[in-house]
Subunit: 452 residues, 2 copies
């Protein structure tokens, strides 16, 4: 984990950043406190986004927002009781990708799906396919999107669709373990690892597989399964297998290997790779993920798992996902001819803005630090880019030992580092929430630093 | 299991039925062999249905088919390569409810759903609900439908939505077992039981629960979970708990407790009850089921299971299911005012026709026997009715010891009784397939009997 050096005295640059940050904070507060309770709009975004835009990493972007007001796309969510105010609890514990809603609204009817009541009634999709519940249209668009983005080899792969990639992780554990083994196969992942891996592996008390903790300290002989998450959840770094022994079976969870989060270096080419629409396009409510599987018998066993678990995967969501993936591929292919921003360019820029604003705010004080990433060449954008992960892996510095409790005291709900096999000095914070929540987070972080 | 007595000599009634059956067979064959290969239509249905109609159990129905030809609704399914012919393999191993497609086609746009690309993106539905991924509209329609049909008490119940009722069975096993118990809790069900129960309970080699076989021979002391399927899959009989000891935890699987299959005697009122759209409305491809749960802690644990298993349930399918359930309730409430057949009357009549035809064919010989059911008062239809299950629980008589192999030899794929904890003299055959496949089944059964 890269750490920021915290100087004892502010440099001239720090003063400048602090000045900018305080300015932003003042504008934010004035706007919040002046806005009427219950109003679904607030002003400010334009200035803040314009500030970030002027230093855009790629090029000067065309702003998606054309007025000084922003209608909040997600105002009905029950955990978001009001539009603002310092008393509001901001819940960024989970990585709900509602940030993308605005893009899909702008797309209008292009991804609207119409399903008549008599359609897709059968359990079956294609009984000639190993994954008999896989909709052909969805499979076609998965292959096309990977080709367009260049992030995965699909040739000589079996596609297995799942109810989100969570179900596919469980299906993969089932498929890679042996019912005749003397003991459960060890499941490891390098810390900080995705916080759900330990409970997903152990909640059934399965005799097939068992969570065995941090891959770096794993030294047991014999077969094991290693979950390789790249870019990693929570910290955003690229990952390779850590254990690297002969009897290792690897599951590559590449949920975040998309151009808005990380430079695409080459098409991934592993034995078993997982993706999900939740993080690629933001459609978490669909619960659709897919696996690219080299070995036929593994694909068969994964399919069997899903058959016993849920007798297939929602056809409605597969058809809708096909339409959304098609729109993403179309947007990439037509970007030049139609002079419209592709989904990935749009979302890359939004993430770039957010990370720039976040770094400005965090660097204004010495209470928090962020991971530092090196730029790398992205084959999709055709230039060097800096990773901008879907989560903030924030470290509380100084004498704050429990960062999660500290932030909770300031009404920011995050996930403690201890759930990821790391120190409680760290927390994971979602970067994919609505604009409103993200700006409130920045405001809250600034206010905390001012008070210290 | 009720058995038919097989007389050594034919009675006058038998000769009449045999004569009718042979007549039907001849018409069938003439039609099949005269029809062009590859054609998606065949003639006959009108006469056959009219024959059955004239003796309808409820009243003389208005035929849903108004011409002498029937367009096949399901001609694209990969396991149905052609429209007819005696060489075609008929696969009735699984209970794919494609029979209902015609009804939903006739409903036109009433159940068409339109989902814009920006809708339902979040993981969350209602965070104030125990089941935080339950769509409010779906929950509302579940409550309304149970009230309209009178088949379940919903007051003081928590609704947990699942990816089909399969996921809810697993969630219930998880919720009712204890992670601190010395040994896995026994899971039992009275034979013949649903063939997937043993593998669903054991495929994860869980330390929480373990399949312990037929409930009737279960005599182990201590806590246990009993799966009570009523009406039962495969045999269609109404069921109550068999073990009936103090430490029993019951899961009532009422997938078939709907008026088209069995008389509704009273609203079910159990601790944990499961339903599914697959069998109630025929929308198996949606993968939507629901549980009515009395105990708050059990509902919480079931929700936790689904969170770890699939992080919720497709919102698209929940919204579509809400629309379909609403249409069913509307059709029941508006039956008199609009003079249109309700979904349940339509499907009841179709099942009644099929069972009448099936009994005529089976009783024409002495090779097969069927369960016999007593009529009972149905509160939904307001009169006495005979059960007409979703599956045929067929017994091969005489010296046929393996009924599944015997029928496979005649290109009819069924599921052997041995998978249900019963004798291989029995097979389970789906009654919910398309009209074409069902008539071909009758034809095949007649032909088999003729040859013996």
């Amino acid at each position: 984990m890269a750490k920021l050096a915290v100087p004892s005295m502010f440099s001239m640059r720090h003063f400048l950043v602090l000045s900018l940050a305080l300015n932003v904070s003042l504008i934010l507060r004035t706007t919040y406190y002046e806005s009427e309770e219950g109003s679904k709009r607030f002003c400010l975004k334009k200035k803040m986004m314009a500030d970030a835009d002027s230093e855009s990493v790629i090029h000067k972007p065309r702003l998606a927002i054309s007025s000084t007001t922003l209608t909040l796309g997600n105002s009905t969510r029950a955990d978001h009781p009001g539009p603002g105010g310092k008393e509001r609890v901001i819940n960024l514990d989970h990585g709900d990708p509602t940030m993308y809603e605005r893009f899909w609204r702008q797309m209008g009817d292009k991804t609207t799906i119409i399903i008549p009541g008599w359609q897709s009634m059968s359990y079956l999709s294609d009984t000639s396919n190993i994954c008999w519940f896989l909709e052909a249209e969805f499979a076609k668009e998965v292959v096309r999107l990977h080709k367009v983005v260049g992030n995965a080899v699909t040739e000589s792969r079996h596609i297995v669709v799942g109810t989100g990639s969570s179900q596919l992780i469980l299906a993969a554990l089932y498929a890679l373990s042996s019912p005749d083994a003397d003991e459960p196969i060890s499941v490891v992942s390098a810390a900080p690892y995705y916080s759900s891996y330990p409970s997903m592996a152990d909640y059934q008390k399965s005799g097939l597989y068992k969570w065995a903790g941090d891959a770096e300290s794993f030294d047991k002989e014999g077969p094991y399964i290693e979950l390789v998450t790249s870019p990693n959840n929570p910290d955003g770094f690229r990952r390779r297998s850590m254990v690297n022994r002969s009897q290792g079976l690897l599951i590559h969870d590449l949920a975040y290997y998309w151009p808005q989060y990380t430079p695409i270096s080459s098409p991934s080419d592993h034995d078993l790779t997982l993706f999900t629409v939740s993080k690629s396009t933001g459609h978490a409510g669909m619960r659709i993920g897919w696996a690219l599987v080299k070995d036929k018998e593994v694909a068969k066993k994964m399919t069997k798992f899903i058959e016993l678990n849920t007798i297939g995967v929602s056809k409605d969501s597969q058809l809708r996902a096909a339409k959304v993936l098609k729109a993403v591929s179309d947007s990439c292919e037509q970007e030049k001819s139609k002079n419209e921003e592709s989904f990935f360019k749009y979302s890359y820029k939004l993430m770039a803005q957010r990370w720039k604003q976040l770094r400005a705010v965090v660097e204004a004080g010495d209470l928090f630090t962020l991971p530092q990433f090196s730029p790398a060449f992205c084959t999709f954008f055709g230039q060097k880019m800096v990773p901008q992960p879907a989560f903030i892996w924030l470290k509380c510095e100084g004498d704050i030992e429990d960062c999660e409790s500290f932030l909770r005291g300031h009404k920011v709900i995050t996930r403690s580092g201890k759930h990821f096999g790391a120190s409680p000095q760290y927390v994971r914070i979602s970067m994919l929430d609505t604009d409103e929540t993200f700006i409130q987070l920045l405001d809250r972080l600034l206010a905390i630093q001012e008070r210290q």
